[in-house]
């Protein structure tokens, strides 16, 4: 690709503008980390400095970890995201395989149902799902946080698109080798569709790690809370007075995804913007 070369002043201008916008984008992150390592006195003595005169990080972070069960929140988050993703793949991949590679009566109807489900925003379903959770007695448990998401219309759609690009000969050959249909899904299709699985995995984990709406409805018990709900509870307890520990907690909640993003940027961008269909 030929990029039109710009004279030096234009290049400098490009960097100048982009550095300014980048600084604005980063400001909340920088301010968050800065306050998380400052003692209360310095936080309330308004100052521009990023680095504190007295490093108070250890106090703030240990307070965040001990006064709120922050590690517990994060472990909850990991567990909930892992369960949701595993169930989503287990449910969606076979259905997507059937839609992509098998000929059967009702296939178009099934696909239409998937597309309609793709249209429905989850928040609209919250009230009936809350009632359902109540009826089967799982509100305020891990199951309540997981069950609305065990099937993902977007997952079915994405896997189907990807499975369709795998040649039929592969499927025929696998049948001749004696694979069962489910065996073909797990041992042939999933490994071959790994890019789609990873993209979907990132989309799923990021959305559920970050989600506040449903957990707010589904659980009250502090020991079950995922990170966003936990940090909100922490904020309300602290009455927003102690910015140091509160922002230390925020930093810890944001850190895992940011770190993963910086390590695997391309995958994240693909997973999250591919998810835009939803």
């Amino acid at each position: 690709m030929t990029t039109r070369t710009f004279p030096a002043p234009t290049a400098i201008l490009r960097h100048a503008v982009l550095l300014v916008t980048a600084a604005l984008i980063l400001a909340p992150f920088v301010w968050m980390v800065s306050l998380s390592i400052k003692p209360p006195g310095e936080i309330f003595r308004a100052s521009f400095s990023f680095w504190p005169e007295q490093f108070y990080g250890i106090e703030n972070y240990s307070k965040a970890l001990t006064e709120a069960p922050l590690l517990r929140y994060m472990l909850n988050g990991v567990m909930i995201c892992a369960c949701i993703l595993a169930l989503q793949i287990a449910v969606c991949a076979p259905a997507a395989y059937a839609l992509a590679k098998l000929e059967f009566l009702g296939r178009d109807l099934l696909f239409a149902l998937v597309l309609i489900a793709l249209l429905l925003p989850h928040e609209v379903l919250a009230l009936p799902l809350f009632i359902l959770g109540y009826k089967i007695g799982i509100l305020n448990t891990y199951a309540a946080l997981i069950f609305p998401y065990v099937v993902s219309p977007f997952g079915i759609f994405l896997f189907r698109q990807f499975f369709k690009t795998i040649p039929d000969d592969v499927v025929h050959a696998a049948r001749l080798d004696g694979y069962s249909e489910l065996g073909i899904v797990w041992k042939i299709m999933i490994p071959m569709a790994l890019p789609a699985i990873i993209a979907f995995g990132i989309f799923s984990v990021v959305s559920h790690w970050n989600s506040l709406f449903w957990p707010l409805i589904a659980v009250r018990d502090q020991n079950l809370m995922p990170p966003p709900l936990g940090i909100m509870a922490f904020k309300n307890e602290e009455a927003g007075n102690e910015y140091g520990p509160l922002l230390a907690a925020s930093t810890l909640v944001v850190a895992p995804l940011v770190a993963a993003f910086l390590l695997a940027q391309r995958w994240f961008v693909e997973g999250l913007t591919g998810g835009a269909v939803k």
């Binding site: 984008i25 968050m32 025929h172 506040l212 995804l257």
Partner: protein, 315 residues
């Protein structure tokens, strides 16, 4: 990632795998297929279709959470919802919020994408930084924003005061709260728009620029107007709808930062839905709000589907 292509859905029939498509083979394939798709179908019905029907039923009856009886009340719930000044404020705020966030996100996202694409150095670096807010946990970042916007110790007011400009109590003033939430919305979604525009820019054939130059489009601005923007038509439409949907679904910042206040100044649809359904337990009211919300979202998505099918190019 080629957006406009995504919808170029292959219409081909799936493979008929059985060597001899005898009736027996067809039947066994059908059984296999429904066995594989059965769990997904059952869960789709239980977790999507029955709930969405239930929302409509609840919205049209006087059922209250926990009650054992219900009777049909027609549109009474909707009349109550629309007669409520709080709800009207919420609807108006949501529309105003979307009307700020969507153009803000598109213009800034496009500007950043054009700037990044106009040179070769540090592309990945700038892209990563601008994309960061899109995946950062918004609940936690909202707390960071609150600290940034704090009336006395926040960086925003300190900077403004330092420059001799007027300051404000951003989240407690009914004139500033909604624009400030919208600014946070733009901050969050800008990177998403940027990534899609970058992909769109990459797919514009260089020949078109050469042709435009031959035709006398010497200035960068001319080429932008005659080639870049028209060729980005489909991406614009796509970004427009997706960002609009995301903006309509804003909840976290309202819940964490303002609780809809002061007064109703920053109340938005999903927050109203949550508060009425789950805090005040006004089931019928909550369900009616959900129906209104659903209609808006589905309408937007259908417009998107139509437009993407036609793959619009402006001009």
């Amino acid at each position: 990632m080629s957006l406009p292509n995504r919808k170029r859905e292959t219409r081909q029939r799936g493979v008929s795998p059985a060597p001899a498509s005898s009736r027996a083979a067809g039947l066994s394939e059908m059984i296999t297929a429904w066995t594989l798709a059965g769990p997904a179908l059952a869960l789709l019905i239980m977790l999507f279709f029955l709930p969405v029907l239930a929302v409509f039923v609840i919205a049209l009856t006087d059922w209250q959470f926990g009650a054992s009886t219900l009777s049909f009340v027609g549109t009474a719930n909707f009349e109550e919802v629309f007669a409520d000044r709080g709800f009207r404020a919420s609807l108006f705020n949501t529309v105003a919020y979307v009307a700020i966030v969507v153009p803000g996100t598109i213009i800034l996202g496009l500007a950043v994408a054009l700037l990044i694409e106009s040179g070769k150095s540090f592309r990945a670096f700038y892209r990563a930084i601008h994309f960061l807010p899109y995946m950062a946990t918004l609940t936690a970042m909202a707390i960071a924003w609150e600290a940034l916007l704090h009336p006395t110790i926040g960086l925003v007011n300190q900077t403004l005061a330092g420059l001799g400009l007027p300051t404000a109590n951003w989240l407690r003033d009914e004139n500033t709260v909604l624009p400030v939430l919208a600014a946070i919305g733009i901050w969050q979604n800008l990177g998403f728009a940027m990534v899609l525009f970058l992909a769109g820019l990459k797919s514009i054939p260089q020949d078109l620029y050469h042709a435009a130059e031959v035709d006398g489009a010497d200035l960068w601005l001319d080429r932008l107007r005659t080639v870049t923007l028209p060729m980005l038509g489909p991406v614009f439409m796509f970004v427009f709808i997706v960002v609009a949907l995301k903006a309509f679904e804003t909840f976290d910042t309202v819940q964490v930062l303002t609780q809809g206040g002061p007064g109703h100044a920053s109340e938005m649809l999903l927050f109203t839905l949550y508060r009425e359904s789950f805090q005040y337990l006004r089931t019928g009211y909550g369900a009616s709000v959900a129906v209104v919300f659903l209609i808006i979202v589905v309408a937007l998505t259908l417009i998107q589907a139509r437009v993407m099918d036609k793959k619009v190019h402006y001009q």
